[in-house]
């Protein structure tokens, strides 16, 4: 393509000469993903501290406390004397829940009555709260089954009969892919691509926006022999290569090094990474072309990409959002990518089932470029649009 090579040489020189550009293309996104990784590296919420108030003080109540302590999620870190004392510990953040074993706990059990223990957990920190509730429920079930089985065995029932009678109708929970609810493959992965889309859109705004603002847009077009398409393409090559490589390296680490399975099509997922980056770069170009103002286009990019993760349906389901949020979420390329990635990596969906999630960003790229490239060419040829900020 004519004009492409000299224009690319101009970009390369800019990259080599500026540590800031190098940071934006490589070090900042890598540092961002690495920091998130270090934050979430444990993956599963374990050893959440809870306070126990044991008013019963019998071997049975101590056994219950040991069972709570033995769940992977919880750690009995305090034995409190009273509820107010334990509540202070929750407010200070020393513990996240209070478990109270009431005075008649073992007496009721021995007399064959229904017995209970009470727990209050901090639901403001919702994620730990959910884990606590799940683990306490589990500890209660296990404890019940132990007590019940012991009683029946003592009365001379056979172990087989005990197994049936303790739980006549039981349920088996299958969670696909990620039975421990590890946060690395789903939350951290989503955040990594949320960072990449942010960098991709800002990079496109920056590479073209700066030429307009500095009044060098003419020189930029000249370096590509006046061919707008070659000039734009040369601008996008370096950020595209950098961000796609970072995305691919992240996926390789996740599925290769950490060993999470990829149940679907690798080529589709990798193509999806490329389309994600290209789609946000296109949106960036479009924003600069329409506003012709580097600073304003940067703000628009921030407005679109910074909250995109909240709207992508990963943490809070799209189906449960109000219509306006759901529509806004579904037109974001990040949402399509996340959906496609989960369907492929987790669900092992067919390529056909994910076709819309690939076609949609491709459409964004195609339609966006058809509008953005000629408009940018026109802006770059008219100095009256230069220098806005």
């Amino acid at each position: 393509m004519k004009g492409f090579r000299p224009a690319l040489r101009r970009e390369w020189a800019d990259l080599v000469g500026s540590p800031l550009v190098q940071a934006q293309l490589l070090w900042l996104p890598v540092a961002g993903i690495a920091l998130l990784w270090v934050i979430f590296f444990r993956g599963v919420a374990v050893d959440i501290p809870v306070a126990v108030i044991d008013e019963d003080r019998t071997s049975l109540s101590r056994q219950l406390v040991r069972m709570i302590d033995a769940t992977p999620g919880l750690n009995v870190s305090e034995q409190s004397g009273s509820v107010p004392e334990a509540r202070d510990a929750v407010w200070r953040g020393d513990v996240e829940a209070i478990v109270l074993v009431p005075r008649d706990f073992s007496n009721d059990l021995k007399r064959g009555l229904q017995s209970e223990f009470v727990a209050w957990y901090n639901a403001q920190f919702l994620l730990t709260g959910n884990t606590i509730a799940r683990e306490l429920q589990l500890a209660g079930l296990t404890f019940s089954a132990t007590v019940e089985a012991r009683g029946r065995l003592a009365r001379g029932e056979t172990p087989e009969a005990v197994a049936i009678n303790v739980m006549p109708l039981s349920t088996r929970r299958d969670t696909l892919y990620n039975p421990q609810l590890n946060y690395v493959p789903f939350l951290l992965n989503g955040l990594a691509f949320a960072l990449l889309q942010m960098f991709a859109m800002l990079a496109a705004v920056r590479v073209v926006g700066r030429e307009l603002r500095e009044g060098t847009a003419g020189a930029w077009l000249e370096s590509a022999d006046g061919r707008t398409f070659s000039a734009v393409l040369a601008k996008l090559i370096l950020p595209t290569v950098a961000y796609v490589l970072i995305g691919v390296a992240w996926l390789a680490a996740l599925h290769g090094w950490l060993g999470w399975p990829m149940n679907g099509s690798w080529p589709l997922v990798l193509g999806g990474v490329l389309l994600l980056v290209l789609a946000y770069e296109t949106l960036g170009l479009l924003t600069v072309a329409v506003t012709a103002n580097y600073r304003f286009a940067s703000s628009v990019a921030a407005f679109i990409t910074a909250p995109a993760f909240a709207f992508c349906g990963l943490t809070y389901p799209l189906e449960a959002m109000p219509d306006i949020a759901r529509i806004w979420g579904s037109i974001q390329p990040l949402t399509a990518f996340i959906r496609m990635y989960l369907d492929q990596a987790v669900g092992g969906a067919t390529v056909a089932a994910s076709s819309w999630q690939v076609v949609f960003p491709a459409l964004v790229v195609a339609v966006g470029m058809v509008i953005a490239v000629p408009l940018l060419g026109w802006r770059a040829r008219h100095p009256e649009y230069w220098g806005s900020r």
Partner: protein
């Protein structure tokens, strides 16, 4: 004193005359605070679609399905004839979970054999999974404990049998503070605090970047240090006042609008906000001062919002992060801000419970004061040295 008021008024002049700065420090705050919480308006995800595969087709299995459909968390949107069909619907995201009732369930229960129903969901979407699984488990548990099973199993053990089905020990679980366990009530307060800090970082970065560019062509013109310092203090006081107004807007209007529970006493919240806002303003000068051009702050610092949000420990418990990361978190005002303000305002804690976070913020003020002043001065009064191509 005159220099103080010059600095103070300068903030407002800039916010109202420089459209770029105003857009971040007034516009973005208003817009984000209304736009970011939008997905979470319903607070709790209800009526998640699930698939049911009834291989038993008995009165008992139909009863179970009716009970599950009646649960508020789930809605049966697909009645499949084979497990494969349900798995396909799950993979395509059409349903968030599934339930398989095995053939012969009723017969098993009647004969006193252990019967197993399998349920599950897509664990890659945690909130959906939680709603689906707890809905189905509760319905199945109720049925297991309920009249049907007991009647079928009754072999004359009466009262005791009923207790067996329920399990002799039940935990009574009570969520504290965010009692509806709403997703919005959990996320919105933390995000609002982050928005305060991050718009300060971006806005101050734009202010200092613009000044830095403007002064590049001019010779260094440093004036009287005391006068400059008074102007800087005034400048910071102006920013703190502006952001105090934003904080009032969030606590008074935003929390009300999005139905976030508040238990805090306003004086305590205000006393806590003071060092948070001062520390955030100084932090903004510390990092924003690195920007030598007007637009650099958005391009270089925007992405930090995501890691910084998780460093606050509101979502992922801090004790699970490596110690070095916990220390890094304490060096950012939003961590102490989120930990302290959420406890005071959303959890109704006493000021003494969050005292160490309050001191953490004052320590940051001391730590950041000199670098912030240095960065402000070199941007406003010209700097010597090389100019990176930013």
């Amino acid at each position: 004193m005159k220099a103080f008021w010059v600095g103070f008024c300068e903030v407002f002049r800039r916010v109202f005359t420089d459209f770029g700065v105003g857009l971040i420090m007034v516009g973005a705050i208003t817009i984000y605070s209304l736009y970011y919480p939008l997905p979470y308006l319903p607070q709790v995800a209800k009526e998640m679609p699930i698939a049911v595969v009834d291989l038993d087709q008995s009165s008992f299995s139909r009863q179970l399905i009716r009970w599950i459909d009646a649960h508020e968390n789930v809605r049966i949107s697909l009645r499949a004839t084979q497990p494969g069909e349900a798995a396909k619907a799950l993979a395509s995201g059409e349903v968030g979970g599934y339930l398989v009732i095995p053939a012969g369930l009723r017969a098993d229960v009647l004969r006193g054999r252990r019967a197993v129903i399998a349920y599950g969901g897509d664990s890659s979407r945690l909130i959906v999974l939680k709603q689906v699984v707890s809905g189905m488990a509760e319905a199945a548990g109720t049925l297991s404990a309920g009249v049907e099973v007991r009647r079928m199993l009754a072999t004359g053990q009466g009262q005791e049998q009923a207790l067996v089905a329920q399990g002799p020990v039940t935990p009574r679980l009570h969520p504290l503070f965010n009692t509806r366990e709403g997703y919005g009530a959990y996320l919105i307060p933390a995000v609002f605090i982050l928005i305060l800090q991050q718009t300060l970082v971006l806005g101050v970065g734009m202010m200092l970047g613009t000044e830095s560019e403007r002064n590049r062509s001019r010779p260094e013109r440093r004036g009287d240090t005391r006068c400059e310092l008074a102007r800087f203090v005034g400048h910071c006081a102006g920013l703190v006042s502006l952001y105090a107004a934003h904080a009032v807007f969030f606590v008074g209007f935003g929390f009300w609008l999005f139905d976030v529970p508040r238990y805090g006493e306003l004086p305590a919240v205000a006393v806590f906000l003071v060092p948070f806002l001062i520390a955030s303003v100084l932090f903004a000068h510390l990092v924003g001062g690195l920007c030598r051009r007007r637009e650099t702050s958005i391009h270089v610092l925007l992405f930090t919002s995501i890691p910084i949000l998780f460093l606050t420990g509101f979502a992922w418990p801090m004790h699970l992060m490596p110690v070095a990361v916990q220390w890094l978190a304490r060096l950012i005002p939003s961590t102490a801000g989120v930990q302290g303000l959420l406890r005071l305002d959303q959890m109704g804690a006493d000021f003494s419970h969050v005292g160490h976070w309050w001191w953490n913020l004052w320590a940051l003020c001391i730590l950041f004061a000199w670098p912030a002043w240095h960065n402000w001065r070199s941007a406003m009064c010209g700097r010597s040295g090389s100019e990176p191509n930013a």
